[in-house]
């Protein structure tokens, strides 16, 4: 299913910006809110996982049903998971398409990577102290 | 101990009555002294014009709206870029240059002291941060009171002492120098999108008029013995027919101070318009200058307009909105709660425009028709009328009737009918220019005793040596050489150090900030007034404790002690 992913601040995300490696930040920024009907269509329940794919890159996210979300859209709090789906083109404005990531989503049983692991995928070395 | 001798200087020092003598100037540790030892460093001025460092008594160079002018104008930044050169940082900008751009270009023109014309108290830290990055000049900040609610209450109560208490506290709290009123009452009215059409119209929601604000503030200023008088941007700036407002305003103050004027009217060019519409606008510079010629208690500055692109910026928010509805150019506005307003729009003054040409002529008329140069300072209200780099051309226009006539023939033809410029043949002398660019400013600002504007013993050794020999030059004919000379000094000295030479800034010295510290008796302590303190707890959006400007922002501050006689 194709959806357009919006991102933005939430209180939990915002409260943990100085703790990017905490379980709270991890849980909040890797959780996507979806319309319940869309979730039914791809066959997942609250708390189950989806794989979101753009440009041959995919990321696993936890799904949460939220009937304030319009069908065909999703809301993912801002952070490394949301930005994993964003490309580097700014259309000569300096600003990437942060709130307009078009992704294919499907149900998955794969696990969600931590922030450190995600950065490792991008070429970094996880710091764990 | 460092010593320096300037030999063979053609000195004009109006405050000392030196009218062009070839003489030597001795400097020790940054100050003028009687003599120095024979072995010290010597600069040979070779008969060139040598003046005290230039002082600009009304310019916009630092602070919130100046910086917003830069921020919104990359096209202007591109128009004046220089790379790093020696001690000079790179600069950007033409009409609103970066702080270093302003500072280097003023220094190259021999200026060592600048008064920022409009600082909102609540945004004072910003002004002081930029002062620190304007290293070649000593700085002063006129502080805006035109919409100050605590002052309004004192005006409403007809309580001059309370008005003085509010002003004295505020200047010390924000490290301000003098009182600036910009469209008094009008900036408050603009809070709800209104303006005032006369000095007797009531300020909406406040039971007071601009006339009462001006009168009370002048009396409070004198009660406080502030170095500078009230510095007023009149109501109705830029409106055809506004000369009536200006004349009424000129009639407000009596002569209350023996050392300086009682009222300083700024950029009077913008306030000397007759007619009723843009179609029939004409000069009323003669009526305005007649009034000034009869009022020794008033000093003005020109606010000269020069042709080309510039940026208008003022605390007068409603005026800028009117300008926006005329030009449809980009418009910025920034009201400051409980205090004042501001607006910015870029303009292009064209010699093909009748209105712009008449404005250009009015500024010159004022400078030529005001008889006493001590009553008329040379400014463009930088950058409103033109960027300050145009000052030398203005000097040329004032010193040469020939140049003026040539220029007049190039502007819109209505200018000849609607102004008297063509019939004025006065040509100003070097001495008169010296008064209008430094000595008069030092007197008007009240900073003679701080060692500014003269070469008396113990004065600050701020000196400008211009490449022109007055006794061998006829400015009337050789105006181009005069203009060139004022564009670039041979030497600019600040605090006895050569900071700029042949247009290159070669070093910096730590600049100062002059501010007014009013020492007030206990009954004038505003912090004991619940009504005053309540402004901060209920209506300002910052705490009183975080409003006060900390000493970190005036690390080289010079507190000018003033106060109320008890």
């Amino acid at each position: 299913m194709k959806i357009r992913i919006n991102s933005g601040r939430t209180v939990i995300q915002g409260s943990h910006v100085d703790q990017k490696n905490s379980p709270e930040y991890f849980r909040e920024t890797s959780t996507i809110r979806l319309n319940p009907v869309d979730m039914m269509e791809i066959g997942i329940d609250d708390g189950e996982r989806i794989k979101a794919r753009t440009d041959n890159l995919s990321i696993v996210l936890r799904a949460l049903s939220d009937d304030s979300i319009k069908r065909g859209t999703g809301f993912l709090p801002l952070g490394p998971y949301a930005n994993f789906l964003v490309g580097g083109n700014t259309h000569s404005t300096g600003m990437p398409d942060f709130k307009e990531a078009d992704a294919d989503i499907e149900a998955t049983v794969d696990t969600i990577t931590t922030v450190g692991e995600l950065m490792q995928q991008l070429g970094g070395v996880p710091y764990r102290r | 101990m460092s010593e320096l001798l300037i030999k063979n200087a053609y000195v004009i020092d109006p405050l000392q009555g030196i009218h062009g003598d070839i003489m030597d100037i001795s400097i020790r540790d940054g100050r003028i002294v009687d003599k120095v030892s024979g072995s010290c460093e010597v600069i040979d001025a070779a008969g060139n014009l040598t003046l005290p460092g230039g002082i600009d008594s009304h310019t916009h160079v630092c602070g919130t709206k100046v910086n917003f002018g830069r921020y919104m104008s990359p096209e202007d930044m591109r128009a004046g870029r220089t790379p790093r050169r020696g001690a000079m940082y790179p600069t950007s900008g033409y009409t609103v240059p970066t702080t270093y751009g302003n500072s280097y270009r003023y220094s190259k023109m021999g200026y060592t002291t600048l008064l920022e014309g409009a600082m909102a108290p609540m945004e004072a830290r910003h002004t002081h941060e930029e002062f620190a990055a304007t290293p070649m000049q000593d700085m002063l900040a006129n502080t805006l009171f035109d919409g100050n609610w605590s002052l309004f209450e004192a005006v409403g109560d007809k309580d001059i002492r309370q008005a003085a208490a509010v002003i004295g506290w505020t200047l010390a709290a924000v490290k301000g120098f003098g009182i600036k009123l910009t469209n008094p009452g009008g900036t408050e009215a603009w809070g709800f999108g209104e303006d005032l059409a006369s000095i007797d119209e009531e300020v909406p929601n406040w039971d007071i008029t601009p006339r009462e604000i001006i009168d009370t503030t002048i009396r409070a200023c004198e009660l406080l013995h502030l170095p500078h008088s009230v510095h007023l941007h009149c109501n109705n700036l830029g409106m055809p027919g506004n000369y009536r407002t200006t004349l009424e305003t000129l009639d407000i103050p009596g002569d209350m101070n023996p050392d300086r004027q009682t009222l300083y009217l700024t950029h009077v060019q913008f306030h000397s318009y007759g007619g009723n519409t843009w179609g029939d606008i004409k000069s009323e510079a003669e009526k305005i200058s007649d009034s000034i010629n009869n009022k020794p208690q008033v000093v003005i500055d020109m606010g000269q307009v020069m042709f080309g692109r510039t940026m208008t910026m003022t605390a007068d928010g409603p005026m800028e909105f009117r300008l926006y509805t005329l030009h449809h150019n980009k418009w910025s506005n920034h009201d400051v709660e409980l205090e004042t307003g501001s607006g910015i729009i870029p303009v292009y003054y064209s010699r093909k425009s009748s209105v712009n040409s008449i404005m250009w002529a009015i500024g010159l008329e004022l400078a030529l028709l005001v008889k006493n140069p001590w009553q008329c300072m040379l400014t463009t209200d930088n950058p409103n009328g033109a960027p300050f780099v145009k000052y030398p051309e203005i000097i040329g226009l004032l010193m040469s009737n020939k140049y003026r006539s040539k220029e007049l023939s190039q502007v819109h033809k209505l200018t000849t009918d609607r102004t008297s410029l063509g019939s004025i043949d006065r040509e100003l002398s070097f001495e008169e220019i010296a008064v209008m660019t430094r000595a008069g400013q030092a007197k008007a600002l009240g900073i003679i005793n701080q060692g500014k504007g003269h070469f008396r013993e113990d004065a600050l050794a701020d000196i400008a040596i211009y490449p022109v020999k007055p006794d061998q030059t006829d400015p009337s004919l050789q105006y181009e050489e005069v203009i060139g000379a004022f564009q670039q000094t041979l030497y600019t000295l600040k605090d006895g150090v050569v900071v700029s030479r042949d247009g290159e800034v070669i070093t910096g010295v730590a600049n100062r900030t002059f501010w007014s510290k009013a020492n007030l008796p206990e009954d004038m302590d505003v912090l004991k007034s619940p009504r005053f303190v309540e402004k901060f707890s209920r209506f300002y959006s910052v705490d009183l404790e975080n409003y006060l400007v900390q000493d970190e922002y005036v690390q080289r501050g010079v507190a000018m002690n003033t106060g109320v006689n008890s």
Partner: protein
Amino acid sequence: MFHIEDKVRHIVCPYCGCLCDDILVELTDGRISGVENACTLGAHKFLDDADNRLKGPIMRKGDQWVDISYEEAIAYAVQTLSEADRPLLYGWSGCVTETQAIGAHLAELIGGVVDSTTSVCHGPSILAIQEVGHPGCTLGQVKNRADTIIYWGSNPIEAHPRHLSRYTNYADAYFLHNAFRERKVIVFDVRKTATSEIASEFVQLEQGGDYHVLSALRAIVRGREDVVPDMVAGVPKSQLIRVAEMCKKAKFGALFFGVGVTMTGGKYKNIRNAIEFVDELNRHTKWTISPMRGHSNVYGSNEVFTWITGYPYAVDYARGIAFYNPGETTAVDILARKEADAALIMASDPGAHFPRTCCEHLAKIPTILFDPYPSATTHLCTVQIPCAVNGIDAAGTAYRMDGIPIRTRKFLETGYPTDTSLMHEIYEQIRERKEHV
């Protein structure tokens, strides 16, 4: 056991662009034990601070992390930045203007690019302002006068939680008798949010439809509702007419917009349209417009860079003069083009907030991170240098979202060096090195 307890008042919260300056912090035995007046975001900033700090500088060696001294970290920064051909100096929004100023001068000294987080938040707003200007005001002006408030693409209850209570809906007003009852709040958003719940009028538009809706509103205010179709980006015309009427009837209106409008669709063209809508309303009554700036001192970075370089962000000194071309000289573009060969990241977290391709490039080049806490960028950088936290154990100037400069307060002594002193040291060492080459 004896406890030393203390309360410090008028503390300035260093979290968001609201820069609330009425925070009370309680200290017990030199640790923050309580916070009053702050919102959830601010309270976490203060209360969680001590346990989150990185103890000292760290360096990546192969696939290991080792502790290094501050001297070693500075030496690494000096060498890396001196030898770089295309250094990027990015971030700056969480530190004080005194540090930002050194950043701008350092960029000039090494011929680098200096950019702040502006480019990925309100950069498009600045581009729009450079086209059409900005009719704004201070927040207290809104508080005392506004009877109509619009939040557009902005969810202050979660992003700037005290904005409504300090400056708008719930704040005391000088000119309104019963401010809370007399004020109307209009929310424009693509989704229901905590803020839309409290709105007197909620306009839900389709994602990417801001430009259309603004154009329709401008047409209606100009008296040309005849050109507006029955539905505009999911919004019924009747609602737009009602909202336009509310706007014209306001005595003082204030429009606040968030990154919901800067990041989508036409980006800066959305903002330009919003500004021109406000320009139009000013022909009828008083209106102002203001961006909801995110970081505590992101506006300070724009101010400082402007007075030093001439431009608010994205300044490139590669050719000796200040050159500005957002879209080319902005951090995301420089990294996405894989152009930077070294990066200094000050007080921000591109690892969490940049597109993946930019993060990949940061992981490849020497990246020096100044941050008190381990962040997402920590895993990508080569060296991280922890410094004192502005507003807790460091003080300096910060500019509120409306341009009001406030001095943050230092109330703890921790021994961490400030970013100002570290940057000063790096600048001086590089300057000396250049003089001896």
